[in-house]
């Protein structure tokens, strides 16, 4: 069987001598100089639009933004008197808040880190690949071809951007609410030293980035879980269960030995930024832990995603 015995359709036999590509392909496919960086950014932007314009995600973001407001109002109504005693970062923050609205940011971040921020990140991360598999869009993206590694890296970056955005929303709303409801001025750190407001805000920026890094690591774990299934809800639930389980295990004194290896263990270590001198032990271990989780989960996701059949 050859092109020669073809009926009607197709080019006439002999019309295209030899392998056709060069000329014909040029005619058929208007030549676009491959610009990998621009095309990558275009794909990334499309991924961001998918995440940020989705109503469910916007709702989640709105609810997240409401928390600092509610916390601020609640604390304003029942403002604890300064120097009320107690210890631990929570109580220390609350005591400091009465003196400076900036502390609302730290209070909001540490309260939302327990569940709300992880949920916000889990929903998007768990949905990332599993959701596409569930809709069936994954097979079409790969047939485009989006490229498996390229697709996965875009997903990971977009999840990290989402986590960063959610964290900054919390910080920003808390900062504004704190400034409205409480006095603002030079910041008295937990260790008693007072620093100028500008430095206080700089420390606040650092804390926010630290939390965003923690959320990026969680996002990578979510992405890895997401490559295992085509049920987005299952992947989302699995990430949340993982977070809660890690937090619970971290509270059990008998399991203290494995504590430092848990994904959530170092999340709240940022309170040392509010002391002078800054105790870098916890911070560096935290960043190391996030990095390790990011690399391990990312590698796992890559190994899985580039070798698995897409049968959805």
């Amino acid at each position: 069987m050859s092109t020669a015995d073809l009926p009607a359709p197709g080019p006439a036999p002999g019309a295209a001598p030899g392998p056709v590509p060069a000329e014909r392909a040029e005619a058929v496919l208007p030549g676009v100089k491959p610009r990998p960086v621009w095309s990558y950014l275009r794909f990334f932007r499309s991924e961001l639009r998918l995440i940020f314009l989705r109503r469910r995600n916007l709702l989640l973001l709105a609810v997240t933004a409401a928390f600092p407001l509610l916390i601020g109002i609640a604390l304003r109504l029942a403002a604890p008197r300064p120097g009320n005693g107690g210890n631990g970062p929570g109580v220390a923050f609350f005591n400091s808040l009465a003196g400076n609205g900036v502390f609302l940011t730290f209070i909001a971040l540490s309260s939302l880190l327990i569940l709300v921020l992880p949920i916000v990140v889990s929903v998007v991360a768990g949905d990332s690949v599993a959701g596409e598999a569930g809709y069936g869009t994954l097979r079409y993206l790969l047939a485009v071809p989006a490229g498996r590694t390229r697709l996965l890296s875009v997903k990971l970056l977009a999840i990290a951007a989402w986590g960063l955005c959610a964290t900054f929303v919390v910080s920003a709303v808390a900062l504004v609410v704190g400034a409205i409801l409480f006095p603002v001025g030079p910041v008295t750190l937990l260790s008693g030293v007072t620093v100028p407001l500008a430095e206080g805000l700089l420390r606040l920026l650092f804390v926010t980035l630290y939390v965003a890094a923690a959320m990026a690591a969680l996002g990578a774990v979510g992405l890895a879980i997401s490559t295992l299934t085509e049920h987005a809800i299952g992947a989302i639930a699995a990430v949340m269960v993982l977070v809660v389980a890690s937090e619970v295990v971290d509270q059990v004194p008998q399991l203290a030995a494995i504590g430092p290896y848990l994904p959530t263990h170092w999340w709240l270590s940022f309170d040392s930024v509010l002391r002078a001198p800054v105790d870098t032990y916890g911070l560096l271990h935290g960043l190391l832990s996030f990095g390790v989780y990011l690399v391990l989960a990312g590698s796992f996701a890559w190994a899985r995603f580039t070798s698995a059949d897409v049968t959805s």
Binding site: G10, P11, V28, Y135, G136, Y140, L142, A143, V144
Partner: protein, 309 residues
């Protein structure tokens, strides 16, 4: 130059099911190839392997002379596809869905995206529904959007897995017309279906699958030729009639309860009838039937469902 070529392509799923069993596809450039087979015969699995979505257990495959799955990034942008039904983001409208697919394509020109998306929607008649959410599309509209996605750029090969699935007769005709137009542009079309009748009018070549094996492949004309005519003689003495037919050199002479039959082959029917009468067979009826293409197809694929494992 072949559009699609496979050698010993095999897929065994985990759990042991042999979905595709050593198939050697040969789809010449510029043809319309009907990839036929009943439910579960391995058509979609084959297409998934061609597109690099699933990895073969063994064997090789090339698309436009580029080996798959290794060459996916070099060749797939020259190939449009519809695999196992349409699939899009339900919360996006048709236009945004196509924009998303286009954005994933590293070789697509972003400056022309809007124009190309509009042209693709127009080509499948979806322009009026461009701003409607995919969730609210009818089945036919969804199917058309999937075809539009395949037409976002000029392609050299279009792979359509059951593009008429779920369409009404009118929609089926429209898709056929569209396929004809695509083929007229010089694009090779590889279209799967479980109905020969549905693609018979547009195909130049067919491949027929049965439980994972390719049982026929070639130009449609060749399949027609193999539709050999049979003579059937109604008589009170089928055994004797069958003997006469066999003595005349006709193949596959069979005796039934009230009739005998054999493959006519190159013989003329009139002398056969005369010989039967001369041999003293009481001929009550004498017919020559050429099986329809459909009968042949059913003969190749078997009746009913092929579901094993």
């Amino acid at each position: 130059m072949t559009a699609i070529s496979t050698g010993g392509l095999t897929k065994r799923f985990r759990g042991g099911q042999l979905a595709v069993d050593h198939i050697d596809l040969d789809v010449p450039h510029g043809c319309v190839y009907g990839f036929l087979g009943p439910n579960g015969s391995g058509k979609t699995t084959t297409i998934r392997m061609l597109l690099g979505l699933a990895f073969p257990t063994s064997g090789r495959a090339t698309l436009l002379d580029v080996p798959m799955p290794g060459g996916a990034s070099q060749v797939l942008h020259r190939v449009g596809s519809l695999v196992e039904g349409p699939a899009f983001y339900p919360y996006l409208n048709g236009e945004d869905n196509l924009a998303r697919m286009d954005a994933a394509d590293r070789t697509a020109d972003p400056r022309t995206a809007g124009r190309r998306i509009g042209a693709a929607l127009d080509r499948v008649g979806l322009l009026p529904a461009a701003k409607k959410r995919y969730r609210n599309y009818s089945l036919g509209m969804k199917q058309r959007l999937a075809i539009a996605a395949g037409l976002l750029r000029p392609r050299e090969l279009i792979i359509l897995d059951e593009p008429t699935n779920g369409l009404d007769p009118q929609g089926t005709r429209e898709v056929r017309t569209l396929i004809r137009q695509i083929a007229a542009d010089g694009t090779t079309v590889f279209v799967s279906s479980h109905l020969l009748a549905e693609v018979e009018q547009i195909c130049s070549h067919v491949g027929v699958m049965r439980t994972g094996r390719l049982v026929f492949q070639g130009p449609l004309a060749e399949l027609r030729r193999s539709a050999a005519a049979r003579v059937t003689v109604r008589t009170a003495d089928p055994e004797a009639a069958a003997k006469v037919l066999a003595a005349l050199g006709l193949a596959d002479a069979l005796a039934g309860s009230h009739e005998a039959s054999a493959v006519l082959g190159d013989a003329e029917p009139e002398p056969v009838c005369a010989e039967l009468v001369r041999a003293g067979i009481g001929v009550r009826g004498f017919t020559v039937d050429a099986p329809s293409l459909e009968d042949l197809f059913v003969g190749l694929t078997g009746e009913g469902f092929d579901v094993d494992g």
